[in-house]
């Protein structure tokens, strides 16, 4: 009967590389809970994933392919070129502030998407899982902040 929903398995296991970044503290049972919230999307080369200034709703994990992060209309001056195992749009997990840059598929790619609403559901239903993710996210943002400060000091 459920065949009408097609291939309805949750997005298949987030790979080890991704686990190292955001889900490193989660055990396999906790990962099963998170997997249930993951959506899988396929993008073609040059397809826009999200625009700069758009209200952010989700964080993206690169499963295959490459993603270009740039300012709108400035694809030649890339801010970053992300590969398999990287994630982007992480600030959307915290609030619905506008996206700071545009994300485009640099080649055909498959992404796993984790929605902020589901993260809030996790905070209510599985506070431990949500706090582990939040801790990793805070560490990641801390690393980025220190990097930005170091860059600024080098410039000065």
């Amino acid at each position: 009967m459920l065949s009408i929903f097609g291939n309805s398995k949750p997005a298949q296991g987030i790979d080890e590389h991704e686990k190292l970044s955001l889900f490193v503290d989660l055990n396999s049972r906790e990962m099963k809970i998170v997997d249930g919230f993951m959506h899988e999307r396929n993008y073609l080369k040059n397809e826009v994933i999200f625009d700069e200034g758009e209200e952010g709703q989700a964080i993206y994990f690169i499963r295959t392919g490459k993603v270009l992060i740039c300012h709108q209309g400035q694809t030649a001056q890339a801010i970053a070129l992300l590969e398999r195992g990287n994630f982007f749009g992480e600030l959307a997990l915290l609030d619905d502030a506008p996206r700071a840059a545009q994300a485009r598929a640099a080649e055909d790619c498959t992404l796993a998407v984790f929605f902020r609403g589901d993260f809030f559901v996790l905070m209510h239903s599985h506070a431990l899982i949500a706090s582990k993710i939040a801790l990793q996210l805070a560490r990641h943002l801390g690393v980025r902040l220190r990097g930005a400060v170091r860059k600024q000091q080098e410039l000065v």
Binding site: L44, D51, V113
Partner: protein
């Protein structure tokens, strides 16, 4: 590039209100399916946290859904089977109590009318007390033959559809997430985030509404039970709970609940009409608390509706679909409002539409690449 947050215009709002009325009309026609669906939703929201705990404990989604629904169904069946002998043994005394309470209530009304006839000439001229006694006597003669058989037939017709509720709740638990994924996969990439947001908001609105309703019922029960206990009316907790559950039907339910309380108060204190008036005052006070305080912190907050719109739509719901419309109009409006605002936001966003067209072109180019060579 910061885009302004979308605000619905008059056309979108007209569409939202029109769609709500149309759905209410349709739902009234398939009430046999809507009621078990709502009961199943309530059961789903109650059982979902338990299912999540089992998944965290290492169980698969399907097994946990089967275990949780099976457990709840077995528990409910067990409670009913255990309660059956007790209910049978108390049925006669309940029937006697019911008759006693109705008699007490009628006596209270007759005494109140007699008092009005003694004190006011217009009431004396209208012979209200005499008319009421005659009408009640006529109703009593016809009741068993006309209404009782009809009520029994309606209950028998509803029973099979109510049995759908546990069945639906099981499938919500087992396949709810599959359905959500199925819906989100059907959405083009350009509209994906907005649609996820929509699904989340619809689910959140429904969840908050039902949770708010349960909280409101608990608050009403506590307030009424305390008030009735202070007045000295018998079985205050059960009476408070029944009145609070009846209040799920806006307006009509509150009046029915108030009548119930007055019947019991008038029977408990036959020679003291002041107690019945105190019970009426208590019901009005709790109703006011509901409207101005409790509803704001429970249901009102979940739906984020303007108070004027809420009241107008309750009347519209009643006019379109009767008692069912009164009950369904607010949650339905909440869901349709979220749907309308999100669809309005997508349709009126030229950038999203342009991205969708661009993605379609890319896909077309990809699948036709070899055709031109």
């Amino acid at each position: 590039m910061n885009r302004e947050r979308y605000r619905s215009g008059p056309l979108v709002w007209l569409a939202i209100l029109g769609a709500t009325c149309l759905l209410l009309f349709l739902f009234q026609k398939i009430l046999w399916l809507v009621v078990p669906f709502l009961l199943a939703l309530i059961a789903y929201y109650l059982l979902f946290p338990l299912q999540q705990r089992l998944i965290l404990g290492g169980m698969s989604r399907d097994s946990s859904a089967t275990l949780v629904s099976g457990g709840a169904f077995t528990l409910a069946t067990g409670v009913m089977l255990l309660a059956f002998p007790w209910i049978s043994s108390h049925l006669v005394s309940w029937q006697d109590s019911g008759a006693r309470y109705i008699e007490g209530g009628l006596r209270f009304i007759a005494e109140s009318l007699a008092w009005a006839e003694r004190n006011y000439t217009f009431a004396a001229k209208a012979h209200l007390s005499e008319q009421l006694t005659r009408q009640i006597s006529e109703l009593g003669d016809k009741f068993a033959g006309t209404y009782l058989a009809e009520a029994a037939l309606t209950a028998a017709a509803w029973l099979p559809s109510l049995l759908l509720a546990p069945f639906l709740a099981f499938f919500f638990l087992r396949d709810g997430w599959r359905f959500k994924m199925f819906l989100s996969r059907a959405v083009p990439n350009a509209f994906f985030e907005r649609t996820l947001y929509l699904l989340d908001q619809v689910e959140r609105t429904a969840q908050l509404y039902f949770q708010g309703l349960i909280k409101l019922t608990l608050l009403d029960t506590l307030c009424l039970a305390c008030g009735l206990w202070l007045i000295g009316v018998s079985t205050p907790l059960a009476l408070g709970l029944m009145t609070a559950v009846l209040a799920w039907v806006p307006y009509v339910g509150s009046i029915l609940g108030c009548l119930l309380v007055v019947l019991v108060a008038a029977t408990d204190f036959p020679g003291d009409p002041a107690m019945a008036y105190a019970a009426i005052a208590l019901c009005v006070w709790v109703r006011l608390l509901d409207d101005f305080f409790f509803m704001q912190i429970t249901i009102g907050r979940s739906l984020k509706l303007h108070p004027l719109l809420t009241v107008v739509m309750i009347f519209v719901g009643g006019a379109v679909a009767g008692v069912a419309g009164l009950m369904l109009v607010l949650p339905l409006l909440g869901v349709v409002m979220v749907l309308g605002q999100t669809v309005g936001g997508i349709v009126t966003d030229p950038r999203l539409r342009a991205r969708h067209v661009f993605a379609k072109e890319l896909r077309h180019r990809q699948v036709t690449r070899d055709l031109h060579s």
